[in-house]
Subunit: 342 residues, 2 copies
Amino acid sequence: MKRKITLKHIARELDVSISTVSKALKNSEEISRETKEKIQAFAKLYNYKPNNIAISLKNKKTKNIGVIIPDIVHHFFTTVFRGIEKYANDKGYNVIVCVSDESFDKEVINMEMLANGSIDGFIMALSAETQLKNDFNHLKQVTDQGIPLVLFDRVTDEVNCDKVVIDDQAAAHMAVSKMIADGRKRIALVTTENYLNVSSKREDGYKQALQEHNIPVREELILRLPYQYEDEKLSEVFFATQEVDAVLCVNEIFAIRTIRFLQDNQLQVPTDVSVIGFTDGILSRLSNPTLSSVAQHGEEMGTIAAKMLIDKVESDVEEGDEQYHTEVVEATLIERESTRSS
Amino acid sequence: MKRKITLKHIARELDVSISTVSKALKNSEEISRETKEKIQAFAKLYNYKPNNIAISLKNKKTKNIGVIIPDIVHHFFTTVFRGIEKYANDKGYNVIVCVSDESFDKEVINMEMLANGSIDGFIMALSAETQLKNDFNHLKQVTDQGIPLVLFDRVTDEVNCDKVVIDDQAAAHMAVSKMIADGRKRIALVTTENYLNVSSKREDGYKQALQEHNIPVREELILRLPYQYEDEKLSEVFFATQEVDAVLCVNEIFAIRTIRFLQDNQLQVPTDVSVIGFTDGILSRLSNPTLSSVAQHGEEMGTIAAKMLIDKVESDVEEGDEQYHTEVVEATLIERESTRSS
DNA sequence: ATAAAGCACGAAATCGGTTTCGTGTTAATA
DNA sequence: TATTAACACGAAACCGATTTCGTGCTTTAT
């Protein structure tokens, strides 16, 4: 086994000083041509690569970015992550991922672990529990230390930092308007319990679109399911008592379950009921019928978030007069089989 | 903004030496009770946390593990990753993820980036291209340096290291046997082009099961699709010319597409044709009909891989006499609506 | 021939910790 | 009272790099 070789080894072997080796490998003017050639040849031969950790310590830059997401087995987050990873990698950064599992405590622990020198900045989406508790001290601590932070999707106004979101309200508005234009009248909303910022914004957009078209908002048409629900009893109750001709769901899974429920109850999609979901993932593309869906462009969000973060990390703008931006990624409605004019 | 505080700051402030501070914070016997209390109180007050990078440099341990997977937007890998991340986090490790994107070059680059001190060990699944090229020098270099490596799922015999796999052959065998027991006779296989190790093993299991039941293997019933295919023309050609009453697909997506294709051609699943897929993911659970699927227990694989790696990282077994193990995770057939006896 | 300039390189500080070893002071023992 | 042990702490090496500042030697200018 060949142990990693260090500057010291090279220096000893070639009978020069460590400084000389370091400079030679950086092709410094200071070192004579022959000495440089000798050292570089030796380094190549023994496949010398500088130790990242030592460089990080010296530079106070790790070239690592920390990503904290609520769940990795989730198409949207996974997509965002891909965008982050690609961009970061191109820029020579590595990505450390921590999963908060929707738990406040894990989020705090993870951030503290990474905030002690392991990373140059954070990209994260808040856990459900964090949004519920409305406690953002761990985020503030991080920004107070001067560590750049970018929030995406699940953000909060309480923290001053860069953000990248989609306009959830506009997106829901667009989807509902589309349904109305298709001649739908009794449009239901299937959403989560309301502590998730995104859900409530989508609900706002839903209501707004209805009102603009003089369709009264009926609370009975709004179904709030627990975020991680397993049974569909609620759904049954709901649809059994309503005459719905369209449904907007705040995520893909709710939409697929809704379609299945409708089909099992002899309702045709989209003939009888049209359905639109959020999160344009694999489910939307492969369900039967395929699902019309609001694409959140996760990969693009990830790319933007990574760019914002790395720009901040690499800028030497003295803080205090920092400018924080919120990038809004436009959502797109992907029309597939689950919608058609009635 | 409060900059991070270091031992040096505390030492200066309290007028003691750095060594004393370090020892006091570790509750060393060497330091008097009062001095310790003073220092500890000060440290708490200013929220001192040791710098991870400095510790890594000193200990030559980073408490980071590198995970290299072909694709993150892929249910199986994502599941394995979750298992890795959970276990690693419990043990105080962070996870650095790199995505090879099925590319050999990216795999090499990523490994080289991380192998220079950033991580204590690797967990990875080979990229498709790497398996095609059959070039594993980058892996050997890593193990030669004494860096522990665990391969999962997409493994190779060429590299000596710990591995965790499922018995793909047995799993396919089980699935096909189940179909035969259900009375199916003309069982097709939808697989990828053959360079993926796992696919060819599944094909072996498929053939073996047929032969054991004296059903001739017919090459026309085996459809090989490119790994990332978009069109389903091939599929149409295939099914149009065959009378198939069951299909085994080597992944979930192929299975869902197969079902959709059958449905579009007036064939009922499972009445006319029963379908089994691999990768028990979200698609299987939410498709209509729900898909019977071979569960690979990704999360368990991840946990095992992480445990194997961390055990190796933390053991001080002098290498040379290392023992490498291959853990086989048993696959399970999850029966859902897409299979039923004919 | 002497001073100034330039070249090629080394010593040492630094990043932020850990750890070994040494030392001055006090207390216990002979 | 002299010797030794225990105590409490500091100096310094070390991990593996980078970088500033000197310095001895050669070369050029005066």
